[in-house]
Amino acid sequence: MAELTYREAVAHGIAQEMRRDPSLVMLGEDVGPAGGVFTPTEGLIEEFGPVRIRDTPISEQALVGAAMGAAMTGIPVIAEIMFSDFVAVCWDMIANEIAKTRYMTNGQVSLPLVIRTANGGSARFGAQHSQSVENWAMMVPGLKVVAPSTPADVVGLLAGAVRDPDPVLFFEHKGLMGSKGEVPDGEVVDELGTARVVREGTDLTIAALALMVPRALLAAERLEGDGISAEVIDVRSLVPLDARALLDSVSKTGRFFTVEENPRLCGWGAELVSIVDEEAFWSLDGPSVRITTPHIPLPAAASLEDLALPSADRIYETVSKSVDLGSRR
């Protein structure tokens, strides 16, 4: 076991896979000598050289397109899009080409590729560098979507993503870069499509992702103080989705909450609520409630950004109030 930061875990995970598979390459803007804007790829070019770790022009369409073309001709690729907001400049490539190619070609073309990107807010970067866009990816059939919350998950799920023969969007959270955690020694490989119960509980279920996981856990602790036992599930993988884990938990607790960093409309939590509602309706003891960023772009000022993102306080208060009301049925 070694303690790594989330940031270090990224390079650790990439290095693990590059050592295993000598054909694996990575490309992106300033991923080489600079080691990336958040330095998640620091040190890689020293070990793997400039042929396997390659800097590109500011040409997201070209770089993601190159990743696609290489992947379809037998080279597994990791592409970095610096900030997840920038997937918009190559969205055609991701949503219309990469996502659809295998299906359209009736299975002729495989795309073993991972697009890593720095996602989410809390860094005071303003509306164009802070978005949580995992729901953009979830919407599009043909993309797998992963968003780890701990260093160990970064390593394991990145390995799972790289080994997956399908395209995976891998969302690294900017607000977690400095957070630390134990990463097991040796090869770490995790399975996409598996949620994790990070806290057991009996009264209600909270589903959270990435930066929202530690916040949900904090809220759960405060709820415990009030005698409310919250189960917290780190969803980890939106596609494939561990619907079973969610349904099992709700069947037990009878209440369902989501904590989403995305602005409200069509967030991943809406999808989860619709699944729970359809399949666990008769287990529900009260309404499902979504705690999200309001449906606004993220403001830059620290005070405003803190108000916008779901905080442990807001989670605690929303859940408390809703559980109260629920019991007044």
Partner: protein
């Protein structure tokens, strides 16, 4: 600069074709290669006409983009390319698919939306793909596939093969962002890729010069990427073949990308629903008179190929296209069992536990 002064015609209205370069009759091209090109021209032409007939019979649904009049580009490249090279085309990709050796029956079946189609009916007319012959896909949103072709070229570079990626696109496509990104990227990475602009002088219903800042949509952009401009007669299979051989050879030898503008004309409309009325009659007639079939038949006769041999090939192809049509029509419509397959590499499309 390889820019050919004969192309100054494009600068004036109407966009009349340049004179045929008769000296190409003496070009060092085997007669066998030329006969293969004649056969391929025929195959593409007859396939396209058949697709049009089937559309009129309401058997081709959706949309179709034919390359009638533009067959020489696909043919010339098809003759010069190596079997393990990669081709990337647009929705107007039937000719390029056939030029790489896609089975015409399976291609036709795909247009008809049948289970025996090359994509099982999932892709349709705009997406013909056959990885087994190096046909890496037909792409229906303008621009993207130039970037994808770079990736295949990069992969060849990484794997140390000397494969080349060839990507075909229209004149209108030179104005979209992805074109620019792809060209710059290819040069900076010195990729073995050949960019071929099929300048048929129209983007849909609009003449290309009405929406482009320079007269030659591709050739006049070459210097922006440190490339030599290359402009050629896209209706002359020999001209295309020679340039293709050169560009492929250069890429194979590590010389990096080439950008070629092949000037041609589509004799029909943009897509199945378009009669192409926006084009001056005089222009259409002039180009019809300079159709690749007319041009190449004359070329082959001029170098001494007997008329019979040409007719025989034409008839062999006609039979093959008939067979392809029957094969296609005989295929069942795909059903429930294939709807949810092959989204993922595991063969299925499940997104949840």
């Amino acid at each position: 600069m390889r820019t050919d002064p004969r192309y100054d015609y494009a600068l004036s209205e109407p966009r009349l074709p340049p004179p045929v370069d008769e000296s190409l009759a003496e070009a060092p091209i085997d007669t066998e290669v030329r006969l293969r090109m004649w056969r391929k021209l025929q195959e593409i032409r007859q396939f396209s006409k058949r697709a049009y007939d089937l559309f009129l019979q309401n058997l081709v649904r959706g949309t179709t983009h034919l390359s009638l009049g533009m067959e020489a580009v696909a043919t010339g490249f098809g003759a010069a390319i190596r079997p393990d090279d990669y081709t990337f085309a647009t929705y107007r990709g039937h000719g390029h698919s056939l030029a790489r050796g896609m089975d015409p029956g399976r291609a036709m079946a795909e247009l008809l939306g049948r289970e025996n189609g090359i994509l099982g009916g999932k892709g349709g007319s705009m997406h013909l793909t056959d990885v087994s012959v190096g046909m890496m896909g037909s792409y229906a949103i303008v621009g993207a596939h130039l970037c994808v072709a770079n990736g295949a070229a990069w992969s060849a570079q990484l794997r140390g093969t000397d494969q080349v990626a060839v990507v075909f696109f229209g004149d209108g496509t030179t104005n979209i962002g992805a074109f620019h990104e792809a060209l710059n990227f290819a040069v900076v990475w010195n990729l073995p890729v050949v960019f071929v602009c099929e300048n048929n002088q129209y983007k849909e219903y609009t003449p290309i010069d009405a929406v482009t800042a320079v007269p030659r949509p591709a050739a006049d952009r070459a210097l922006s990427y440190g490339l030599e401009p290359s402009l050629l007669d896209g209706n002359d299979p020999d001209a295309v073949y020679l340039e293709a051989r050169e560009a492929l050879g250069k890429a194979r030898a590590g010389g990096g990308p080439t950008l070629i503008e092949a000037v041609t004309y589509r004799s029909g409309g943009h897509s199945r629903a378009d009669p192409g009325k926006y084009r001056p009659d005089q222009e259409v007639e002039a180009w019809l008179a300079r159709d690749p079939m007319v041009l190449y038949r004359a070329r082959l006769l001029s170098i001494g190929v007997p008329q019979d041999r040409l007719d025989e090939i034409e008839q062999e192809v006609a039979r093959a296209i008939d067979e392809a049509t029957e094969f296609a029509k005989g295929g069942p419509e795909p059903g429930e069992d294939s709807l949810l397959t092959d989204l993922w590499a595991d063969g299925g499309s499940s997104w949840r536990s």
